[in-house]
């Protein structure tokens, strides 16, 4: 009866350090959940197994943050990507000049990676955030 969280944040971070984008696949409906949750994002099922995502997806939207939170240095691009397995993830688009970070990038394929969180504020040990590079 005791529930055990299947893929914790710390395990997800360890995956990123090893260049693996981990998620959960539902034994019930087959949907992938990434980043992880307590249940399947699609059907709410609790029979989940850890699986590595392909790390490839499609850029769905973005912004260029020019006024940043305390502890961050703007400008930088935040984007949302739909992974080929279905889940959406948020991260930073890198490697593209800002003046090319415009509506044209919506729909482009990207490769997902990660980097240490870019902040001067204290954060959790091992905290990483996702990065996207146009393929």
């Amino acid at each position: 009866m005791i529930m055990e969280y299947k893929l914790t944040y710390n395990q997800f971070m360890q995956g990123l350090e090893q260049e693996k984008l981990l998620g959960l696949v539902c034994n019930g409906c087959g949907a992938a959940t990434c980043p992880p949750l307590g249940v399947c994002r699609a059907c709410g099922g609790q029979e989940l197994r850890v699986a590595e995502m392909s790390g490839v997806g499609t850029l769905r939207t973005f912004t260029v943050v020019r006024v940043a939170p305390e502890g961050r240095t703007p400008p930088y691009v935040v984007a949302m990507v739909e992974l080929d397995e279905g889940p959406w993830v948020m991260g930073n688009l890198e490697g593209l000049p800002l003046d090319q970070s415009n509506m044209d990038i919506i729909g482009k394929k990207v490769k997902v990676g990660s980097r240490r969180v870019q902040t001067k504020l204290p954060v959790q040990e091992n905290q990483r955030s996702l990065t996207f590079h146009l393929i």
Partner: protein, 388 residues
């Protein structure tokens, strides 16, 4: 359930204040109680909203201190609610539910926030804490950034040139600043033009400074009571016809940012409870934290079809005198956005509109009004429908 009415309503001037959260709330709360022909000793519970008192002033657990500022009875519990920008609306909804249920007869609800006092870098950081910390705030997303991503998605989804969408968005700001110019309590009282918006600094592409609401200080409060008691106490009670509240997870789960599912559900609950539809509403105070936000709200609540509300301000349909007046107070955009107080100020405006007390910005013939408040990155939406 018993019928519930709003009695006295009050708000401080929104803007930059040198008063503390408790002082601002005391002013609004005592005024609301006095306008209800009541004394603090008559209040049976306090539903109190505040988001970031711990960062603003080092103050957690603010509700009992607010309770003491007003001299409320020990037996009248003070409870803090926090639902990001929807905080006060959620507090008011819970107050209305418990008065309707007969747990209390007369209560005070409202909120206070000292957001301007934090300054832009800290305020930007702490507001972004309402995004999912581990998987989204970690990418440096900001609140303007969330709505900026929604705007890009809107332009892409509906095939609207970004420059055209931005012009229509700017018209939303122009409208709300015009309305705000008629509101003595508004943070900004200066009319602006489309050029003001399009020439302002870029905050998060495509949102410019004048697409964004300000960080404001302020408080607002109102008294709720069982309807018969309300009729005894005040000349024009305003009745709560329906409420709704719904929730959604982080953006990575919401995916289509042009469709705010929690709002579609919350407004459906509120309309269903009120037994009316969007066509029956004459005035709405909705969550225009950014220009695109007003457009998304009008669609999710059913006032416009999806992909069509972007012209609502340019067509002047949502101006004072239009067929549905949207944000006659100036909205978050011009009236200001002290996040823990915002919902109570929205209810204050609708109540005063329905009572015909709004002077220059009065919506003629308003009989049904609606409040819409969104918390965080679309994680909470709370709606309240009011009627005379």
């Amino acid at each position: 359930m018993r019928e519930v009415a709003v009695l006295g309503v009050a708000m401080t001037k929104f803007g930059v204040s040198d008063k503390t959260n408790l002082e601002m709330f005391a002013e609004a709360g005592l005024e609301a109680i006095s306008k209800s022909s009541l004394n603090p000793k008559d209040i049976q519970a306090l539903f109190f909203g505040n988001c970031l008192g711990d960062f603003e002033e080092g103050q957690l657990h603010m509700a009992p201190f607010a309770h003491a500022e007003l001299g409320l009875p020990t037996g009248a519990p003070a409870t803090r609610f926090e639902s990001a920008c929807a905080t006060a609306t959620v507090a008011i909804r819970h107050a209305a539910l418990l008065v309707g249920a007969g747990i209390y007869d007369v209560v005070l609800a409202g909120g206070t926030e000292r957001a301007a006092g934090m300054g832009t870098p800290l305020a930007t950081r702490t507001f972004a804490m309402a995004c999912q910390a581990h998987h989204e705030s970690s990418a440096g997303i900001t609140f303007p950034g969330v709505f900026a991503m929604a705007a890009h998605m809107y332009a892409h989804k509906y095939g609207i040139a970004l420059s055209e969408l931005k012009r229509h968005m700017a018209e939303v700001a122009v409208k709300n600043h015009y309305h705000g110019s008629l509101n003595p309590k508004a943070h900004f009282r200066k009319p602006i033009t489309v050029d003001t918006v399009l020439n302002s600094m870029m905050v998060a592409d495509p949102l410019q400074l004048f697409d964004c609401c300000p960080f404001s200080d302020g408080a607002a409060a109102l008294v709720l009571a069982e309807a018969n008691k309300a009729r005894e106490l005040v000349e024009k009670p305003v009745f709560i016809a329906g409420t709704g509240q719904a929730s959604a997870g982080s953006l990575y789960l919401q995916r289509d940012l042009t469709r705010i599912k929690a709002r579609e559900e919350a407004s459906r609950q509120a309309f269903s409870q009120a037994g009316i539809g969007p066509q029956d509403v004459q005035v709405v105070e909705l969550h225009d934290c950014f220009t695109i936000a007003e457009i998304l709200a009008l669609e999710a609540m059913g006032f416009y079809g999806f992909g069509s509300a972007y012209k609502s301000a340019s067509s002047r349909e949502t101006y004072l005198g239009g067929k549905l007046v949207v944000n006659p107070s100036g909205g978050l955009k011009a009236k200001g956005h002290p996040i823990g107080a915002t919902g109570a100020a929205q209810v204050t405006e609708i109540v005063e509109q329905l009572r015909g007390e709004c002077g220059e910005r009065q919506v003629n013939g308003a009989r049904v009004g609606m409040v819409d408040t969104l918390g965080g990155d679309f994680g909470t939406v709370c709606n309240i429908i009011l009627r005379v």
